[in-house]
Amino acid sequence: MPRDLIQEARRQAEICNACRYCEGYCSVFPALHQERFFTDGNLTQLANLCHNCRGCYYACQYTAPHEFDLNLPRALAEVRRESWERHAWPASVARKFHSNGTYIAAALVAGFALLFLVIHTLGSDGGGEGFYAALSHNAMVAVFAPAFLFPLVSIAVSLRKFWKTIGGERIRLVHIAGGLGMAAKMKDLAAGHGDGCNFEEEDRFSHARRYAHQLVMYGFLLCFAATSAGTIMHYGFGLHAPYGFFSLPKLLGIPGGLMLAGGTGWMVRLKLASDRHVGDQNAWGGDMGFILLLCFVAVSGLVLYAVGGTGLMPLLLALHLGSVLSFFLLTPFTKMAHGFYRLAALVRDAQRKSEHSNLSSMLSRHMDPIAGKENRT
């Protein structure tokens, strides 16, 4: 891990640990205040708990021009991106995409090209209906099964390494429930007071980023559910596409696509309005590229549905499937990976909380070494 990034995060965390004013904002601070010295693993965990809500930055009396020059959201964002790059497998690929939107665009074009080539050379075997008239079901599976399995394997390898880095213990169901609960509500973007975060207009609290993120996350999950429903209907029940409007894939997929398109568009606008120096400036291009890719996946999917019966269909199919292919393959190496790392960090934090409550109930019978402080501002 680059010493300067981790060392800078450590310097800042030590100042925060002597202050503690931000304890109520999010999951980072209670976890931070539990440590006295910060290992690289501690800092990696804190970095992945941070959602860059920026509440602590705008509340901080030690930001520049103060000589302490605190900017914890940026310091943690840099450690975070570095941790994703380091834990990705293969790592060398990740270093290109996290910081560079151009590479993402290039991957997208490559995805288009591949799909055009596949459609052109394999095409349909003659008998397909709907999209299968352009590209047969078997050809689709031949392309997408490996493209789906590879990221799963890659992320599994990464998470194993990551879990070791952050000192994770054996996972129990209650920890997973705790982590999922935090993620489902995006509680860390609501802040302890529930007014939201500081993102698009300095210290003004708003739920915009939280809601945009919810649209993206739930939109994506609905699209994923739509695809899964289609797969099950195809293989389990012999019900083949195309599906009508009142079918599960459509009922899940259309709202999902709309939410994903709207959410990513909103996210782009918020990101453009935000103060870039409170985040990881090196990741800006990569993050933006990824959000736009996700947006393209959603929009092209919706357009494909709209023009399904026309002559434009094969063109749109190639564009949509090309973007989906790139998206899948890039999942372990782009911002998409953050969902997995964050969830792991939240599960780890749920473990910390249960360890801590056991420990403190045990200790409280003996002593509370910090309970005797008072009388200072």
Partner: protein, 461 residues
């Protein structure tokens, strides 16, 4: 020139903002003149973290109750009786209605911070600390139509008989004068003016660190006192505590505190102990250590602890110096190594049975036969690695200020000044003669800021 504003508020911290919002809600047109740039707005309020609040039952983040009598008794303890009872009780009684008012104006509270459990009943903590309170108030004030000028330096208030007729200030290198109907002074004490502090306290003050804003230079306070506005508070005194010697000259704030003294020995630059480090629990003693250190050569002290005490106190902002031997530690701190060794040896020999050691209670684990003694938590310094901190005097605020009445109104020896009010640190000497009670500064600022805003708006209407 008649001002387009009814009221000018001088200062940009908690008291100024409470006054400005209250006045604007009463219909007044208000201008805030804040001397600092926007990034440093809020004066010492940006370093605060809580509000001490009376309450008859659970209120917001506060548990149980905290009566006027108990609150006042707590105040008397720390001020040694140097308290204006009438104004203090007014502040205490009004604090209860302030908390919901603060929430309505954008302040958000959080449960008592880790390490401050003992304050959960008496002090309401701001989520994010004082700067987040200041941010919220600026947003609310701007919504109420209050205008704010940053880097606006007030140079003079013209007092003519019983009223202020003019406010002079510079902004963007331009001189301005304005004639509002009412003026509220909420621009703090003078502790950041090192020359003034040195005149008041003496030469050692040059080595003092200022824990808060560098913008409390007392310009308006001096200007008003020179024109005969009534003053209050001991002009030579300031509230000072012992803080990490590596803290910046200004604005080090909360993080520079050090809580390790009770578990240590403290020596001066000649490696000699000079006071009982274990006299009482640290919260009750950290203020007197500001003075003790101020009286040592070069106004510096050195704290020595060993490995067994390292985790008994809140983490420090800078890591301690660390060495495997006392000689090495002495070298890092520029202390005479032989002398430090003999001081520690003498201390260690004077320690007795330590089995009753208890870090959070007066445990009576004391030395025998040395001067000064250590009367609690006296454990020999034997276990390497050894750790060291330097201690310096950190000034929190000054006591000299403007004398006000129940309505926060200022006066001269001839009577009230019709259109001048004061709030916050600049008049806190009217209530606190010495000492300090955590969170009481914000109580004074909020209560008297609102009173000043109300009165100034009523006069201007």
């Amino acid at each position: 020139m008649t001002s387009q504003y009814d009221i000018v508020v001088i200062g940009g911290g908690n008291a100024a903002l409470c006054a400005a919002m209250t006045a604007a809600e009463a219909g007044a047109r208000v201008l805030i003149l804040e001397t600092s740039p926007k990034a440093y707005r809020g004066g010492n309020s940006r370093h605060t973290r809580n509000f001490r609040c009376m309450h008859g039952g659970p209120l917001g983040p506060l548990v149980e109750d905290y009566s006027e009598e108990e609150y006042f008794a707590d105040l008397l303890k720390v001020t040694g009786g140097k308290t204006d009872e009438h104004l203090a009780r007014l502040a205490i009684r009004t604090s209860e209605e302030c908390l919901p008012w603060m929430e309505e104006h954008g302040v958000r509270f959080q449960p008592s911070l880790s390490g401050t459990l003992s304050l959960a009943r008496t002090n309401a903590f701001f989520m994010g600390g004082g700067k987040s309170l200041v941010n919220a108030y600026y947003r609310t004030a701007e919504k109420l139509g209050v205008d704010v000028l940053y880097e606006a330096h007030v140079t003079h208030l013209e007092l003519d008989g019983d009223q202020i007729t003019r406010v002079d200030y510079t902004h963007k290198d331009q001189q301005h004068r304005t004639e509002p109907r009412s003026v509220i002074v909420a621009s703090g004490g003078f502790q950041a003016d090192t020359d003034w502090l040195t005149r008041a306290w003496g030469e050692p003050a040059k080595n003092f660190l200022i824990r808060g804003t560098p913008y409390n230079r007392g310009v308006v306070l001096a200007d008003l006192l020179a024109q005969g506005v009534s003053q209050v508070g001991d002009p030579t005194q300031c509230h000072a505590v012992a803080i990490d010697g590596r803290a910046p000259k200004f604005d080090g704030g909360i993080v520079t505190r050090l809580d390790c003294v009770p578990f240590s020995i403290v020596v001066n630059k000649y490696a000699e102990r000079f006071y009982d480090e274990g006299e009482d629990v640290w919260p009750k003693r950290y203020a007197i250590w500001g003075r003790l250190v101020a009286n040592q050569p070069d106004q510096v002290g050195y704290v020595i602890i060993d490995a067994k005490s390292l985790e008994l106190f809140m983490p420090s902002v800078f890591p301690p110096l660390k060495a495997d031997t006392l000689e090495e530690l002495a070298g890092m701190m520029d202390l005479p190594a032989d002398k430090l060794h003999s001081t520690v040896d003498t201390f260690n020999t004077a320690c007795g049975d330590t089995s009753a050691f208890h870090p959070t209670e007066l445990d009576g684990v004391a030395t025998t036969g040395i001067e000064p003694p250590k009367t609690n938590w006296a454990r020999p310094i034997t276990e390497p690695p050894f750790y060291g901190y330097s201690l310096r005097t950190g000034v929190t605020f000054t006591y000299l200020g403007l004398k006000v009445d129940d309505n926060a109104q200022c006066s001269t020896e001839h009577g009230k000044i019709r259109n001048l009010w004061a709030a916050g640190e600049t008049m806190a000497g009217s209530i606190l003669g010495q000492g300090y009670l955590a969170g009481f500064g914000m109580t004074i600022g909020t209560v008297f800021g609102r009173i000043a805003g109300r009165e100034a708006a009523a006069y201007a209407a």
